[in-house]
């Protein structure tokens, strides 16, 4: 197997690991096809397409009232399931962060230089804020009732806004905490890791801007539909 095809397979299997339960079957389907694609570069392009497929599926434009009602009903249903049935999914965030605090905390206690103490301190601070945030957000009881389309639409808009609007406190809390962890890690690592983390940060920032653009457009589409209906 060539390096390029190996890379395509690695990328595909990584996307399978990251996919949400609802999209997993489809991402697995994409990954299985990699073996059958003629040409290594085509296989790599296919694997990159699986990332795009996930984003494209989740945030496709909403152009009609039917599409809007379908999307908001699905979103509300997922939230209801998450709150009522999926204990692991609901609590995974803050428990994972708690683990991060213990790891970074023990590194902080062992840190010998000022630079390392500041670096691990920033990482502990970032994970602590995220732990509190995820703990407080672990259950959202305000999912509207089935059938109340207007309330579900407002709920969906609010959740999108909260996750992606620059004027949302949630966005700043999460992003600044992640930034604190990354900067802290950059401070304590060697030059090779610093470069890798720098690239990671740049890619993350690019994805963040892209998400901002998509979500802003989606919110505008929803507003336009609601406006047209009234």
């Amino acid at each position: 197997m060539t390096l390029v095809r190996g890379l395509a397979q690695k990328l595909s299997s990584h996307v399978v690991k990251l996919a949400s339960p609802g999209a997993k079957e489809w991402v697995q389907a994409l990954a299985r096809e990699v073996d059958f694609i003629e040409g290594d570069w085509n296989a790599l392009a296919w694997a990159f397409g699986s990332v795009r497929a996930l984003f494209g599926y989740r945030l496709a434009p909403i152009r009609s009232w039917d599409e809007l009602s379908f999307t908001v009903e699905k979103f509300a249903e997922q939230k209801r399931h998450r709150v009522n049935d999926a204990w692991v999914a609901t609590n995974f965030g803050w428990l994972n962060m708690l683990l991060g605090i213990s790891n970074f905390g023990s590194d902080l206690l062992r840190a010998a230089t000022t630079r390392n103490r500041i670096g691990y301190g920033m990482a502990v601070f970032g994970t602590l804020i995220l732990t509190i945030y995820f703990f407080l957000r672990r259950a959202d009881p305000n999912v509207p009732d089935r059938g109340d389309l207007t309330a579900m639409t407002r709920f969906y808009q609010r959740e999108l806004w909260r996750a992606c609007s620059l004027s949302s406190p949630d966005l700043w809390i999460v992003d600044l905490s992640i930034l604190a962890i990354i900067v802290g890690m950059v401070m304590v690592q060697g030059p090779a890791w610093q470069t890798a983390l720098g690239i990671f940060l740049a890619i993350g920032f690019g994805l963040f801007l892209q998400m901002q653009r998509i979500v802003r457009r989606r919110l505008e589409q929803i507003e336009a539909l609601l406006h047209g209906r009234n």
Partner: protein, 102 residues
């Protein structure tokens, strides 16, 4: 019908109609329609979500990973025919010379 009509969706449906009774692989659909995986799969996912597409995992001999297969449901085939007829009617309705000002 809740499905969004787009040129790409119409292309995929037309491709399914070429062999409506057969199960199809994603890669074959991609090759025949010229659509990249990042465009094709969201369409397949939406078709399945709306009950227009049936999916299945291929049963293979031991050691070989199965592949995902796709086939239009009855509702999907009906929808695909409607789309094809609508497209044909649109083409026939447009004068070949463009029609503007005549």
């Amino acid at each position: 019908m809740k499905m969004r009509r787009s040129l790409q969706t119409t292309q995929v449906l037309a491709e399914f109609l070429n062999s409506a009774q057969e199960w199809r692989y994603g890669y074959d659909l991609s090759r025949n329609t010229g659509l990249k995986s990042g465009t094709l799969y969201p369409i397949l996912m939406r078709l399945a979500e709306h009950g227009l597409l049936e999916t299945s995992w291929e049963t293979t001999e031991e050691g070989r990973p199965p592949r995902h297969l796709y086939k239009l449901t009855h509702a999907g085939a009906r929808y695909a025919y409607e789309q094809r007829n609508a497209e044909a009617a649109k083409v026939l309705g447009e004068p070949a010379w463009g029609g503007a000002g005549l």
